[in-house]
Subunit: 196 residues, 2 copies
DNA sequence: ACGATTGATTACTGATCAGTAAAGAATGTA
DNA sequence: TACATTCTTTACTGATCAGTAATCAATCGT
């Protein structure tokens, strides 16, 4: 150990992730990352490795940080945790009309790179498994309370597809109204699972 | 009118679209398009314009060609047209394990470019409207036959999200089994709309 | 047959890309 | 204080990128 690093690698990684999240991987140049972090390229390479490593670390940061906090809220709930997430997504889109159009970093990266970069597709497997775990846990909690009946595995799948559909619509240019409509319809599906 | 063009611009466009569909926009170089079509770059530029124009024309070809044929099948049906599409998607994924991982060209392009390229996001609006029209028409046909009851608009939204979720999972590296599970669950949702 | 027009072919831009070499600066340890 | 180690800074590489200029070839109208 010698000269200490003069910047916060966690903060810089969050800034890097935000650029990939907004622009996508291929459309992002190292120069963009220099601008976003204020760090010269050689510092970025020294701290994070090659550009693809930067994306991997961005996804890991995003999965274990912002997303994990949501996963845990869904884990510890019933189906209201699922609807909470859906309405939160639509709420964010509406609250920041020009800014909250990034969708989900993992979904975006998967669509762009999963069929060429195994490091990305592996993280996609983790993502799907974690989302499904959260939804399944929430559904099981509601089932245990007698709030819902029926095939939990199938509903886990459905909730996943609804979520992905919303994310894609947001990143794909859907208006706040469009997203709000989708969220409302998605919530309607989840609510319909309540036993009569 | 003078010297006639020596290649089939429709065929070449289909080949170009396939490259964008598989690799994405930014990851595709003009050299890749030369390889796929067998045409020198100057010919491509003369026939289709800039790279972004090539993508626009690819999307238009895809929307008005392959996709439109599916849309029409869904239009002219009831809810079985919706389930047919879902099962067809899963079937293709299973039949060509290594190849049918392209998902949907429009969805892929939207996720990659909608927030920077208005030409792409405009086509996304068209796409969403056309998909919704097909689903709505199918649902209305089933409602008219008394097969289903309930909110058609909400179910149109749900079918759209299910479709997008499947496409994203396919392009995002989901296995044939994963996709088959999702399709089965999605079909279950649509079937559940049948009046008891 | 001839001129005008358009397509085909080749070779070539300048710009930007990801990544790095090398030298100076700051710290911990002895 | 001196050395080893790590970080910072600057400048630079070769490769690849999208797009084009210019020349040649072929066809149509006359």
């Amino acid at each position: 150990m010698a000269r200490p690093r003069e910047f916060d690698t966690g903060l810089a990684l969050a800034q890097i992730a935000d650029v990939f999240w907004t622009q996508g991987y291929e459309a992002t140049s190292i120069g963009d990352l220099e601008d976003a972090t204020g760090l010269a390229r050689a510092r970025l390479y020294a701290a994070y490795g090659a550009k693809l490593d930067m994306l991997h670390k961005s996804i890991d940061w995003y999965l274990n940080g912002p997303l994990e906090r949501i996963f845990e809220r869904v884990d510890d709930s019933g189906i209201e945790g699922i609807t909470m997430w859906f309405s939160m997504i639509a709420g964010l889109r509406k609250a920041e009309p020009a800014k909250a159009t990034k969708g989900c970093l993992v979904v975006n990266s998967l669509v762009e790179l999963a069929n060429t970069e195994t490091g990305v597709s592996e993280r996609g497997e983790l993502y799907r498994a974690r989302v499904r775990h959260a939804f399944r846990t929430a559904l099981e909690a509601s089932a245990a309370r007698g709030e819902i009946e029926g095939d939990i595995e199938a509903r886990t799948n459905v909730a996943l597809m609804l979520l992905l559909g919303m994310f894609v619509t947001i990143k794909g240019g859907g208006s706040a109204e469009t997203v709000a409509d989708l969220a409302e319809s998605a919530i309607g599906v989840v609510e319909s699972w309540r036993a009569a």
